[in-house]
């Protein structure tokens, strides 16, 4: 596998978890740049070009709410999880746990067979 296709696969893998990561971090309202930083601190690098369109999409799907606020003479848009998002989040977490369990089992089995 070339480096490029490896990168593509990794990107695909990450793409799936970003929604869950973002929703999980927005129980307290945050603006975009602070969200990027808090995700980075937790170990998940996500670039702005991915995050902002995603936030808009989640808002238009009703999972997030946003509001503009002026802080230190500068407008910032704050995002927070909506009640709909709050209902969805536990289900997503559960799904994620079962994916992790399945994959761990599968990958460990592979290792034993080798």
């Amino acid at each position: 596998m070339t480096n490029e296709s490896l990168e593509n696969v990794i990107l695909e893998l990450r793409r799936g978890i970003i929604v869950l990561a973002v929703l999980s971090q927005l129980s307290q309202e945050q603006y975009g740049y602070s969200l990027i930083n808090s995700l980075r601190e937790s170990g998940l690098e996500i670039d702005q070009g991915t995050l902002y369109p995603l936030l808009r999409r989640l808002e238009s799907q009703g999972l997030l709410q946003s509001s503009w606020r002026i802080e230190a003479d500068r407008p910032r848009r704050y995002y927070v999880i909506s009640s709909e998002g709050q209902t969805l989040l536990p289900q997503l977490k559960q799904e994620w746990n079962s994916i992790v369990a399945t994959m761990t089992k599968m990958l460990n089995k592979d290792r034993r067979e080798k």
Binding site: Y31, Q48, G49, Y52, P53, R56, P75, R76
Partner: protein, 354 residues
């Protein structure tokens, strides 16, 4: 206007007006946040170098704008197969019409190699022009369909088309051989039907016998005297025939889309054939379809006896043709009806299962 403003407006001008200012404001705010952090980390005030750095990091305005937009198509993946089919069928029809036209023109007007080459060149030019025009029309029509579907759909739904019914593997039985359409036959029927619509409606003069003073014969018209072969009575039927032909092409296109016969298309086909038989019967009962008579050509061109023979032959042959078409249509109706009934019986539906 500083660099950040220019960058933001570069992204903005690629976005739809509805969301532009909102997205611009957000990117602006994000860039300011980045810049502030950079400056704090570096321990010096914001400068151009830092701005270049963060803009480079944020990326090409074109890509940034694209990340906010859904994938856009002129003709999307769901309509593309229809587009390809239409283009293939239309190109085949145009090519056949061009070839026949070329043959007729060469036969009539080519006197030497040079004039022959001119005719070939002109025919080729016409073919290219008509091909481009028809493909452009198809793109235009499908583009509008695509746009309408997208506008009516959810803006997040990339597919744009209404949801299909759940797929059932039992439907595969419908595509078994007796129901599967014959691709070649269907396309040929479209081509010839178009050809008939075209000739009878726009070039009825093709069906005439022409002669010039020097004694040479022609089919069609030109700088010579011509006598129609088919009577006015025949041309009264042309509008009805044209409607049937257009309905036939619609049926064929439906069949091409679906790939197999079902009850609805079978009933459609039976109705068309019944109409065909009705028109044929009217033709048999009505006045003669042949306009040529023993005195329609001067005696110095053809002897009255020979002409009489020709007229008799034509007058005798065409009813036989019409009878054959009635017979053919009746046999087809029985066959189609049989298939329709047979499909209702389970034993037929699961043919080849055991």
């Amino acid at each position: 206007m500083n660099l950040i403003d220019i960058y933001v407006s570069e992204v903005g001008r690629r976005l739809p007006a509805k969301t532009r200012s909102d997205i611009e404001a957000e990117i602006h705010s994000a860039l300011e946040d980045m810049l502030e952090e950079r400056s704090q980390k570096a321990g010096r005030p914001e400068d151009d170098e830092m701005i270049y750095e963060i803009l480079k990091e944020y990326g090409d305005p074109e890509k940034v704008a694209a990340s906010y937009l859904p994938e856009r198509y002129l003709i999307g993946p769901s309509l593309f197969p229809i587009f390809l089919t239409l283009v293939k069928v239309i190109l085949a029809i145009l090519a056949i019409i061009a070839l026949v036209g070329l043959g007729v023109n060469l036969g009539q007007s080519a006197t030497n190699i040079q004039s022959g080459l001119q005719i070939v060149g002109k025919a080729f030019g016409n073919l290219v022009t008509s091909a481009l025009t028809s493909i452009a029309s198809v793109v235009f029509i499908l583009g509008i369909i695509e746009w309408t579907l997208r506008a009516s759909g959810e803006h997040l739904d990339v597919k744009g088309l209404p949801e299909k019914k759940e797929w059932d593997p039992h439907s595969l039985n419908k595509i078994a051989p007796p129901n599967r359409i014959k691709l070649g036959d269907t396309i040929a029927e479209i081509v010839f039907t178009f050809f008939a619509i075209f000739l009878f409606n726009f070039y009825p003069q093709v069906f005439s016998l022409g002669y010039s003073a020097n004694g040479s014969w022609y089919i069609g018209t030109g700088n010579w005297t011509s006598v129609p072969i088919l009577s006015e009575a025949f041309f009264h039927y042309v509008p009805y025939l044209t409607v049937v032909w257009i309905l036939t092409v619609i049926l064929d296109i439906l069949l091409l889309r679906q790939g197999y016969w079902n009850t609805l298309t079978r009933i459609y086909s039976i109705v068309l054939r019944v109409i065909n038989i009705t028109i044929a019967a009217a033709m048999l009962a009505g006045p003669s379809l042949i306009a040529l008579s023993s005195n329609s050509l001067p005696a110095n061109m053809i002897s009255p006896g020979t002409l009489q023979l020709l007229v008799n032959l034509l007058t005798k042959i065409y009813p036989i043709g019409i009878w054959l078409s009635i017979l053919g249509n009746s046999v087809e109706i029985i066959r189609i009806f049989y298939r329709m009934v047979a499909n209702k019986i389970p034993a037929f539906e699961v043919q080849g299962k055991h």
